[in-house]
């Protein structure tokens, strides 16, 4: 099936990032995962995960499907609370040094600070404008001018402004798949989170739309901490600074993307990256 993308009219040049800067671990980690086990009911899917996600960088989670990438990602903003019986059974997850699973944490505030973009784009059945303004209104913003400003800023940041500025009041469902996903990113940006979690944001997009989103992610790195789950090795290589490789619920290797891709220290990582399994 050919999706008629608006983007096809101005084909974006294939996205070629310059060599990613080496990690500088002197900065304190944004998210710290220590000794985490996670279970759905009695079914344990994460085993003893230890990880430090550096701030203002893109961290990619890779691994065969079913290895627990999504699960870990959803731990970071406690989205798993919505699933019956799902729980962190051991270990700690900290956001800037604060335990996010502590009993007195305000989950709502946590989720504002840790935004999320889903695998399947999920714009609300509202206008484009209302989609972006939703988060602000929920936070209590009422001033029209401020909301207008923030909407424009977020849409610009999501590289969508030019395409939609004339039809802000039309339904978000009229956008193409790639535009919808970027709208979801814009929506997440509007509430000014510190961390943005992305769960295979490009899995449903064609290559051109994917390129646009990847470029966007690359630019966002300067202001946000980004964690992206991906299936696509090239994607991880292209747009991430750090890469974590998971296998069967365990973190096998974590390090600078360049190192993981050129010189992995684990056999399994190498096998996976070179496509010997997966």
């Amino acid at each position: 099936m050919v999706i008629m993308e608006k983007e096809t009219e101005h084909p974006a040049p294939p996205f070629e990032p310059q060599k990613v800067a080496e990690p500088e671990p002197q900065e304190k980690a944004m998210i710290t995962v220590s000794d985490v086990d996670f279970s759905y009911g009695a079914h344990q899917v994460l085993f003893d995960v230890n990880l430090e996600i550096p701030p203002r960088a893109v961290t990619a989670f890779i691994g065969p499907s079913g290895c627990g990438k999504t699960t870990l990602l959803r731990c970071f903003n406690r989205m798993n609370d919505l699933i019956d019986g799902a729980h962190v059974s051991a270990g700690r997850i900290e956001l800037e040094g604060h335990d996010i699973n502590a009993p007195d944490i305000d989950v709502v505030e946590l989720r504002r600070r840790v935004g999320m973009v889903f695998q399947k784009s999920n714009p609300f059945p509202k206008s484009i404008y209302d989609n972006v303004a939703y988060g602000l209104r929920v936070l209590g913003a009422t001033k029209k001018s401020r909301i207008n400003e923030a909407v424009e800023k977020s849409l610009r940041a999501a590289a969508l402004w030019g395409e939609v500025k004339d039809r802000l009041d039309s339904s978000a469902y009229g956008l193409s798949g790639g535009q919808q996903q970027r709208l979801c990113i814009a929506r997440a940006l509007a509430v000014e989170p510190e961390v943005i979690l992305m769960d295979e944001p490009c899995s449903a997009l064609d290559p051109i739309a994917t390129a646009k989103v990847e470029e966007l992610i690359y630019q966002l790195r300067e202001n946000f901490t980004i964690v992206i789950v991906t299936h696509n090795m090239q994607q991880a290589g292209r747009c991430s600074n750090y890469t974590a490789f998971f296998y069967l619920g365990r973190l096998i290797e974590f390090g600078a993307t360049s190192k993981i891709f050129s010189n992995p220290s684990e056999r399994q990582t190498e096998d996976y990256i070179t496509g010997r399994f997966g």
């Binding site: 040094g97 604060h98 007195d104 305000d106």
Partner: protein, 502 residues
Amino acid sequence: MAVPLPVRRWHADSLIKAFFGSNALIAIVVLALITIFLFREGFGFFGKNLANIRLYRRAGLEYVDILRDSANSHAALSRSLNDIRKRAAATESADTLSRFDEFSTAFSDSAENLNGLVSDAGDKAVALRDALALLIGDVDHSGENSEQGAATPPIDEAGTIAALRANTATFATTAAALDRTIRDLLKTAPSFQDAITKRAFEYWTKKVDGYLASLPATTKKLQAWNPERPVPAYRAVTSFLFGRDWITASFWQDWYGIIPLFVGSFLVSIVALAIAVPFGVASAIYVSEVAQPAEKRFIKPYVEFIAAIPSVVLGFFGIAVVGQTIRHVSQSSFFHWVSFFPISERLNIFTAGSLLALMAVSTIFTLAEDALRNVPRGFVEASYALGANRLQTVGRVIVPASLSGIVSAILLGFGRVIGETMVVLLCAGNRIAIPDFTQGLGAFFQPVHTMTGIIAQEMGEVVRGSIHYRALFMVGLALFAITLATNYAAQKLVARYRMSIG
């Protein structure tokens, strides 16, 4: 800079959750309240019923009823003679007939003394009962139960009972005289030409023998009767659950037995299901397996719409059209061979049942069609792949796979029918009696009263708090229990069916 995560605000969310949760509780609360209020209003029934039965014994009504039974048996024999007379009219000579008339008049006259005895004793017992009821106070009686408790006349209870029991001896002599009279009378009986009439009369004679033989037993019963013998408490329950009479507002004795009502409800439901099940299941199969898509699109909503017809409209239609039609049909010569046609009452079990069938068809169709449609297509395709044709696939694969779904549809249909009020109230004939099953299928063309109908009809007229009022609540409770049990069984079946399909 690390902004600390704020501590959870006790914001409205938990309150909101509690609010919605309390709303969700309402189903449980209502079920509980229904149970509580049916019990609250109904439970006093047993106490009052026990008092009622105790008074029945204490005042000697029970004693009189033993006498009355005997008189009633005699009267029944007289009525049988009338039936024989009707048959004989066609076949016998005028002479035989006139002798027979003489005979039957003499026979019914023979009970004159016995009847007198019953009515005398009855008057005494009723007077005593009314006096005692005023004294005890809490047993309300249909008739003249006024609130002048203070001005009770003195009661000579022992005297009345003694006077009543004196009737035992009288009965013995009356019975002996009766025995003699009847035996003499039998010798004068005319003989009939027609074989059938003859046989009927011989059968009657045998019954008379039986009756005469029972007289000494009755005397014994009278002698054994004791007003002081305590009535066990369980009688209050058993006389309700197994009682075959529902008699209210009678000057004699009220009985609250649910059996005639239950039987009425049950028979109406049986008729409704007997019609609705084949039609409902057949049409469900038709729509899910045979019909064209265009046909489906209009049949389904149409049948579902039948469920929306207000039952009172159906009931009215029954009175205005169906009852009349059924009677006309039963009178037509075409159905002459049916023994119980023509029917006498246009409103009867069958009238109500056939209307309820239409309601049940809608329920059964909808649920059964659902069950059929949910049979995994894999089964069906496998069957076709093995060379079975459509009918075989329907019969051997689809219907068995959805059988428990269909059975639960039928159960729910039953629940709907037995709880239905307006149709039976308007169309079942409202005669409180257990149908005469000796007529075979004819029993289904007799009027009955039902559990739902009796509540609807009598609730508006009873005195609040009276035993009758409480009895109606007990009927409601029984109905509630029956429908809950049906519903529960249906749910269990569906659950099992879901599991077996996977």
